[in-house]
Amino acid sequence: MSTTSQKHRDFVAEPMGDKPVTALSGIGEVLGNKLEEQGFDRAFVVLGQYLLLRKDGELFTEWLKDTSGANTRNATSCSQCLREWCDSFL
């Protein structure tokens, strides 16, 4: 049994389409609101940021922490989620 959450598995299983940012693993309501304030209201926008950072997990994690105040665990989880999604669909 993998250590990923159900949310993670749901997200990486299919194209993200217009899913909200809270669909990302590690992003709950609080973090989601913070991100939306900054203009990242959809998951694909966050994906865009991930791609801009050249899909570098560390950079993205750092960015996410700075931008939304996420802790390391959540940020890493989101980063991993996006990475796996990209592996399948990008």
Binding site: Q49, L51, L52, L53, R54, D56, L59, E62, W63, D66
Partner: protein
């Protein structure tokens, strides 16, 4: 260094490359992150480029012929006439607490055999005295605490005195074994009849 904010995107990119920071394009959303990383890298750099160089500087000074340094009162001055040669720890030039130059006629380093006990201050520190290997500097009328003279500043995992203690224990042990060996007086080559 001008503030990072005022630099152009291009300059930020160049700085990032300079510090070897992996990065993507500099965009509205990525710029603050890169500025932060550059600030950290610059702060770290500044801290690193200040090595403490007094020690090396000191050591170079020691290579000079005449010692003008003064020594801490650990080592007693020579002439109290031990009669025995001073076994100063050999020119570990790392110890810089020598008496004033009066005691050191360092101007004659040629006397390699140490026969020159003529002068009172028989304190030769020239490197040619192989006999004066730098062992236990026992002969100190000052009650020599020379041990820590040269090593008090170095960091050791195991304290020095413990090392000495272990050494003595091992030496004692070996000596004990040696003493208890069978004597070899008899002729081992007896022909077996």
């Amino acid at each position: 260094m001008a503030t990072l904010r005022s630099k152009s995107d291009q300059e930020i990119m160049e700085l990032l490359d300079e510090y070897g920071i992996k990065h993507g394009p500099i965009v509205d959303t990525t710029r603050p992150l890169y500025e932060k990383k550059l600030k950290e890298a610059m702060a770290k750099d500044k801290k690193v480029t200040k090595p403490s160089s007094d020690k090396t500087f000191y050591r170079e000074e020691q290579e000079e012929v005449t010692y003008v340094t003064y020594r801490t009162p650990v080592i007693s001055e020579g002439p109290s006439g031990d009669g025995k040669p001073y076994m100063r720890s050999r020119p570990e030039y790392s110890e810089r607490d020598f008496v004033d130059e009066k005691l050191y006629s360092r101007s004659r380093p040629e006397y390699s055999s140490g026969r020159q006990y003529i002068d009172e201050p028989h304190v030769y520190n020239t490197p040619s005295y192989s006999s004066y290997s730098k062992p236990t500097p026992v002969v100190k009328s000052g009650g020599g605490v020379v041990k820590d003279e040269k090593t008090e500043s170095s960091e050791r995992l195991v304290p020095l005195w413990i090392q000495f203690l272990v050494f003595l224990i091992v030496a004692g042990f070996l000596y004990f074994i040696f003493i208890n060996m069978e004597s070899v007086e008899s002729n081992p080559f007896n022909r077996i009849q």
